[in-house]
Amino acid sequence: MIRVALAGNPNVGKSVIFNNLTGSRQHVGNWPGKTVEKKEGYAKCFGEEMYVIDLPGTYSLSAYSIEELIARDYIVKEKPDVVVVVVDASNIERNLYLVVQVLELGVKTIIALNKMDLAKSTGVEINVKKLENLLGVPIVETVAPKKIGMDELCRKIIEMKESEEIQMRIRYSDILEGAIHDLIEILEEVKEFRDYAYRWLAIKILEGDNAIMQEVEEKIKTVSLKERIYEIKKRFEEKVEDTEMYVINERYRVIQEIVSKTVHVSKKVTLSDMLDQAFLDRYIGIPIFLAILWILFQFTFIVSTPFVDMIGDFFAVISNNMANVTGISHLDYLLFGEYGVLNGIGMILSFVPLIMALYFALSLFEDFGYISRAAFLMDKLMRKLGLTGRTIIPMILGFGCNVAGIYGTRIIPEEDDRIIAIVTNPLMMCSARLVAFAIIAAAFWGSMAGTILLSLYVIGIVLAVSISLVLKKFVFKGKASPFIMELPPYQVPSIKVAASQAWARGSLFFRKAGTVILFGLLVLGVLATTDVTTLSFTDDVQNSIVAVIGKMLHPIFAPLGWDWRLVIAVIFGFVAKEIVIGATAMLYGVTEDEFASFIAQHYDPVVMYAYMVFVLVYVPCIASIAAIKNETGSWKWTLFTILYEVSLAYLLGILVLFIGGFI
C-alpha cells in the first residue's frame, strides 16, 4: 500500500484530484479534537493499492494556523510515502512557496501542475521541463475536472515510491545554508530527532518556530547540545534582522529566480475579472450578495422539503401499522412509538436530505469562488458585530433550520470564529419555532402577530451578536483572526465534488449525530411512558415520570407564570420545537385546533410572550445539539451551549415579565 498525501493551497482543485483518485472510496470526518475536515480514501492504479489523504488547504506550513499545523504534523509524523503538491498553474509564484516548504521537509514530492487550461487561457506559459529540473521534482500536468493527467500522476506516484531519495536542489543564501549546515551537524547527534528531516528542523529552529522550539526545549536532554544549538541560532539572529522574515524572503527569492527562467506571463483581462466588477461593485455588489443568499436558502430548503416530508410520512405510516406487533406495550412503544427507535431513525433520516442539499449548494458556491467574495463584501459589517464576513451565511441558514446553520459554519476558516458561529446559531429563530410561535402569536395578538414574530427574530439576532462579542472578547481574547485571504479566480464548480461532499456529509450526520438523537429520544420515550408508581407502561403522560419531573421543576418556573404543563411541554421541546404546541394541547386535553383559543383565555399575553422568548432561547432541539457536538467535536462546547441557553432563556423570561409589568 502506497500512502499518498495531497497538499496544496486552497482553491487549486485539490479536492477534484482527490475525488478523481479515490472515487467513492472515501471517508470524511474531522481531524481528532479539531473542527477541521479530514478526508481520506483509497485508490487503485496500475494494480497498486493507495491510501490517499487530503491535507487541509494551506498557503504555508508555519505554526500559526491549525490547518497548517495539521498538514505539517501529518507529513512530519505520519511520513507518507509520497506527497503530491497540487499547484495552480495560473498562479504559480505563491503556489511554489508551499512547494519549497514541502521540499524542506525532505519527503518524496511530486507536483501536480493543475489548471493548465486556465493558465494557457489567461496568458501564462510554463516551461515545465525546465521547472522540473530547477526544482528537482517531477511535475505532472493536469486538468482535474477533465481527468487529464490522472494516469500519469498515478504512474509517477508509484515510480516515486520505488525511487531513491531525491536530491535537494534548492539552495538558499550562504548565510542561511551555513547556519542550516552547522545545525544539522548537531542535530544528527540528537537521537530524539532521529525521525525528523534535519534540514527542515534546522530551518524551523532558525525561524524560531514556536512548536519546534518547544520540542527542542523538551526533547534534548544533553545541555551542551542545546547550548550549541542556541549559539548557532544567536549568531544567525545577529546577522539577519528578523529571522522569520529572512527565511520567507529567501524562499521567495529562490522562487522568483526559478519563475523568471521558466514562466512567461502576458496578463489578459479575464472573465473572472469581469465578474468581480459586478459581484464586488460598490453599488450592486451587496444586492447581488443578498440575491445569491436567497437562492442558497431557497435551494437548501425547497429541494430538501419534499424528501423530508416523504421520509416523515413513510415512517409515520410504518410505525402506526406496527404499533402492537410484539404485544408488550413498553417494547412496542420503544420500537414503534412516538419517541421510539423507528420514528427516531425517521427523524434522523429526515435531516439527511436537508444536510445533503445544503452541502451540495455550499460546495458549488465555494468551488465557484463566491464564498470568499461574500466574506469580502460583508466583513466590515460583521466584524462590528464581533463576527467575520462568512458568518452571515450560516446565520441566514439558521433561520431555516439551526442544524443547517451549524453545519454551514464549515465555510468559516478560522476555528475560533467557527466555534462562536456554531454556539450562537441556535439563537436564530428557525422555521420550526416560527410555526409554533405563529399559532400563539395569532391567538394573542391577531393582526399584530407579525410584529410580535419580528420582535422574536430581533431578540434572537441581538442575543447572538452579544454572545459572539462576549466570547470573542473574553474566551478567545487576544486571538486575532486575520482576513488575509485570496480572492481566487472564478471557475466552473465541480458537480462531482459537490455530490460526494453532500453524500459524505449526509452519511456522517446519520452515523454520528444519529446516535445522539436516538439516545435522547429513547430516554424521553422511556420517561414519558413509564408510570411513576408502578414503573409499568402507561400511555397517560400525566402519570409518567416526565410529568413528575415537570411538577418537581415547576417551582423553578413558577416565577415565569407557567403551570406544570408548560414545564413538561418545554421538556418535550428538547426533541423538536414543533412538538411544544402539540404536547401542551395534549396536556390540557384540548385538540391542536382548539389550542389557540384555549391558551388565549388561560394566559396573560405578557406571560405568553415571556414563554415564547424562553422557548426561542433555550436549546432548539436534540438534532441541533447533536450537530453542535458533531461540528465542535467537543462535549464541553455542547454542554456550554445548552447551559448558557437555558439560563439565558430563564433570565430573559423573568426580564420580559418585569418589563411587561410596567406596560
Binding site: 505563491r94 520567507i248 521567495y252 469580502f376 466583513d379 466590515k380 459589517l381 488575509i484
Partner: protein
C-alpha cells in the same frame, strides 16, 4: 516617500518596503508573498470601504485596512484618475 499600504487608492501601484511588526499577521502577510521589493496594485475597496483588494504576484489578495496598515510601501504611480 514610504507610506502605509492602506493609504493608497484603487488603481495605485507600489512596491513593498517593509512589514512592520512580528507575529502571526505579519508572518501571514509575508507568506502570501508581500516581501520587500514586491510590486502591489490596489484593485478596489469593498462596498463598505474595508477590506481592500490587491493584485500581487499575479493573484488577488484581500486585506483588512488594519492589516494593510502594517505594510509599508513606496508608491510607484498614482492612478491617473
Amino acid at each position: 516617500m514610504n507610506v502605509k499600504l492602506s493609504s493608497l487608492n484603487p488603481g495605485d501601484k507600489a512596491v513593498v518596503v517593509r512589514i512592520n511588526g512580528k507575529g502571526a499577521i505579519a508572518r501571514r502577510i509575508a507568506d502570501m508573498g508581500l516581501i520587500p521589493g514586491t510590486e502591489i496594485k490596489v484593485v478596489r475597496k469593498a462596498p463598505l470601504g474595508d477590506p481592500i483588494e490587491f493584485e500581487v504576484r499575479g493573484y488577488y489578495l484581500s486585506l483588512r485596512k488594519n492589516e494593510a496598515d502594517i505594510v509599508l510601501v513606496k508608491v510607484k504611480e498614482y492612478d491617473s484618475l
